[in-house]
Symmetry: C2
Subunit: 209 residues, 2 copies
DNA sequence: AGAAAAATTGTCCAATTGGTCAAAAAACTC
DNA sequence: GAGTTTTTTGACCAATTGGACAATTTTTCT
């Protein structure tokens, strides 16, 4: 979907590109596109700077490759929402999937957050086309469920915004969260899931005003 | 609270420092601390680079001054939550205050978001002391309200996290929101407030399981 | 093994960056 | 309005940065 990707690449090429991307993800997530330097990526990857530039012709190319390689994965849980399942269970499952990603892939979350926060120079196009299209479809499903009285009357778009916001918050703002709550990661995410489940159950319940 | 601030400053000094801070806020919010350059701040402020350095001895000092000048303002709505008011109204009011800040001060929101996202190098201390202390107090109020059966059983910390996340999302991720929703700003925030009101009312309602 | 191709690196460069400084200009004081 | 202080600026500098390149080393292929 994103790019033709690793077509005719040798073993070494695949390995080294993967090494570089992994290191670059760390550095970009921590410092952002502009704050990240090739030197930092070189150190993080254990390669030399010219060697990195042998595989990627520029810093921007690395950034673009890392980001676009993650895009599909990032939107994937949205596709799992099935129009045929139980509405509440489908949406709770989506929330849990997003929360799990925040727990297990905080760097990826931060990378996207920084990208969007700073004007989404590389992804604005994808957001306005691919993501919008998918979300429009899912909101249509939500609205169908609502018309069938299976869900409370909620604004589908803002429902998704709030799920994104609440789940990604635990990755993007983890420093703030951890400054306030002194818990193990497992306990924190257990409490978060419990709270978010409660919020969603109450918000989506077809009964009540 | 933050610093002694403008003590013995001449008219010109106050004006220029204010001009610099305003321009720096724009640039820092858009590019982050590391992505912002003195040249960009110089252009945005209409001053020359050495002139800026006449008022602030370094870029970091500007950043620190801008950020710490905003800290109090940013936490202020939290102090408005009164233990004596109606619990639901107090918390709805807090949410509305935060949402209004997202609408009217998106740059400030983005500045904080970037700061925390990238490790909160300058604010971690404040987060772990001042903010934590205030939040602990407010969560104690929440818990009192819960024990008085005025609120549903919710985790107070995660309640605040979710309010922060959901309201700030409209400032920090506005590009994503606007890529998906093609509305006027007023309509967007009207819908957001309606949705968030509904979520909070249902989440906080003492009745229901 | 030996030739060809691929991978790696040391060295270098130009542009950008944060910051300095001395001199000029403006503002204030009496 | 002369003298003093404050403000402003042009010119400059050292460090960092993204990137180029030729030479060397390693891998691959026969």
């Amino acid at each position: 979907m994103t790019l033709a990707a690793n077509k005719n690449l040798s073993r070494i090429q695949k390995e080294k590109r993967s090494t570089i991307k992994k290191a670059a993800l760390e550095v970009f997530a921590e410092y952002g596109l502009r704050g990240a330097t090739l030197d930092k990526i070189a150190i993080a990857s254990g390669l030399t700077k010219p060697n990195i530039l042998y595989y990627y012709s520029s810093k921007d190319k690395i950034y673009f490759d890392v980001l676009s390689g993650l895009l599909d994965e990032w939107v994937a849980p949205l596709h799992e929402i099935s129009p045929n399942g139980d509405p509440i269970e489908e949406l709770l499952g989506y929330m849990r999937a997003k929360l799990t990603m925040s727990k297990q892939k905080p760097q990826e979350s931060k990378l996207f957050a920084t990208e969007i926060l700073h004007g989404a120079p590389l992804t604005q196009n994808v957001l306005a086309t691919s993501l919008k299209k998918t979300l429009d479809e899912k909101v249509a499903v939500i609205n169908k469920w609502i018309s069938e009285k299976k869900l409370a009357h909620v604004n589908g778009y803002h429902l998704f915004f709030s799920i994104w916001a609440m789940t990604q918050h635990y990755a993007d703002f983890d420093i703030q969260v951890r400054s306030i709550l002194d818990q193990s990661e497992d306990d924190l995410f257990k409490d978060a899931e419990e709270y978010l489940t409660s919020v969603l159950l109450r918000t989506l319940d077809a009964k009540a005003p």
